[in-house]
Subunit: 314 residues, 2 copies
Amino acid sequence: MTLPTLADIQSAHLRISPFIKRTPVLTSSLLNNIFGCELFFKCENFQKVGAFKFRGATNAVLSLGQENRKMGVVTHSSGNHAAALALAARMNGIKAYIVMPENAPSVKKDAVAGYGAEITFCKPTTRAREETCKAIMESTGATLIHPYDNFMVICGQGTASLELLAEINDLDAVIAPVGGGGLISGTSTCTKGINPGIKVFGAEPLNANDAWKSFTTGILTPSVNPLTIADGLLTSLSELTFSIIRKNVDDIITVSEESIIQSMKLVWERMKIIIEPSSATVLAVVGENPELFRGKKVGLVISGGNVDLTGLLV
Amino acid sequence: MTLPTLADIQSAHLRISPFIKRTPVLTSSLLNNIFGCELFFKCENFQKVGAFKFRGATNAVLSLGQENRKMGVVTHSSGNHAAALALAARMNGIKAYIVMPENAPSVKKDAVAGYGAEITFCKPTTRAREETCKAIMESTGATLIHPYDNFMVICGQGTASLELLAEINDLDAVIAPVGGGGLISGTSTCTKGINPGIKVFGAEPLNANDAWKSFTTGILTPSVNPLTIADGLLTSLSELTFSIIRKNVDDIITVSEESIIQSMKLVWERMKIIIEPSSATVLAVVGENPELFRGKKVGLVISGGNVDLTGLLV
């Protein structure tokens, strides 16, 4: 299995730069006081489609050969990756087929349809979506762009921390959320490639702790019915992301639901930015482990800001 | 009555720059598409204490003479001005006395107390708060810093658009919310001073339209029981702010409650930033008057981001 390197991430960054937003790195003296360390928020909630996923999807789309471009791309996702792939494809004149569970929230269906993708609905099971994807690949020749089990996607996700470290070059630690492991794989490869002395931590909900289990036992262990407010972190690691995590990540740290919600609220209230629950896990890690970060300069990869506000605001 | 000039605002900016945040000017291609014009959001929701009020309060505090500094400052407010004055005073080693209605939300009491101000509670009537203020002034010698009926406060508020226009120098129009009129007074003085060709509009809730009434009739007409979600815009103009508005503002435009809420939701969802209802009025003006702004470059002064999230997020 070939693992990505810093050079791969740097190439990805050159490739995707004309298409992505260079998101800001925000700080808050108020939060620094509360947590007793210096926090640097790499704000991918401001990225196109509201999530880092646009980086990986764009890198995957731009890496296709001419023949494959003509036949389009396909993925199964009801979340940020679906919207990201749909937009990345459209911006490059490529057809996108998205397989979504028929019970996906209509706000998500609308978003993907709005980016011009062709949606195929299937039953909400892993088997149904994989079979539907396969059928589309066979009939159209489209290339599967997996949400995280994909070399080019991982390289794209790593570009967020490439920008973070270019801006803040003396970080002591970087924390990114762990779901399927695409973001933490890119983040850790990039960070350790630039400076092996920087600690890299994965933030995972205690209620979806497959990465923690896999990391501590050394045996890839999928999630079974994870139940967390961090709805972007329900997926399990793949062989590829697990291998990268074992090589480059210092630790996976789990956090409680209560501390995820509290951290999210704190950021909304004090920083006036909207981050999704999955992103709040990184601040929750700092909050639950003050001794680990006291006095340190800590980079936090804020993965996205897609929250369904229906019900919150009228 | 002496009205402030651009030079006064420029002086204020020099004076307060070491203390305030230079807030970003954000754009959103998505919102530009929706509204058919180019929008530039001057984000005072990222200002210290979460509102532009910190600019005016800081300018007022820094403009005190040595003797007055020793005796402190006093104001009556249950909102952003109270927190702003408390912090501005503390940062300059000055005592702040804040008069608040006894029924103010505890989150606001806590914020003001947290900035080290001495709070005096009074009955929630105009008369009670004015008498309480007066008693404090007599017993302590503290200087009253009115939330908007104050020359130095108005000059401080104008510095937000000074920064906006320095960054985007070819705006066609600037829109700011109107409550007591401090922000729109500073905004319009600054904008017309730099370029009289730039249109300046005040955004006001239809349900609190005292400024619109005063502006269209030419007679200063206070609000009677205004009822709007834009809780920062309940106050009425003063003689001073009314004079400035008559001189420098092109029009006051009222907006419905529904369109304020819709605009706020749009900004939260699409821009991933938290703005308070009062700030959403400026976007509501654009939404309700597309013909006025189509194809134009429009500056929007986003006044603050203080929203009580209790009940929204657990």
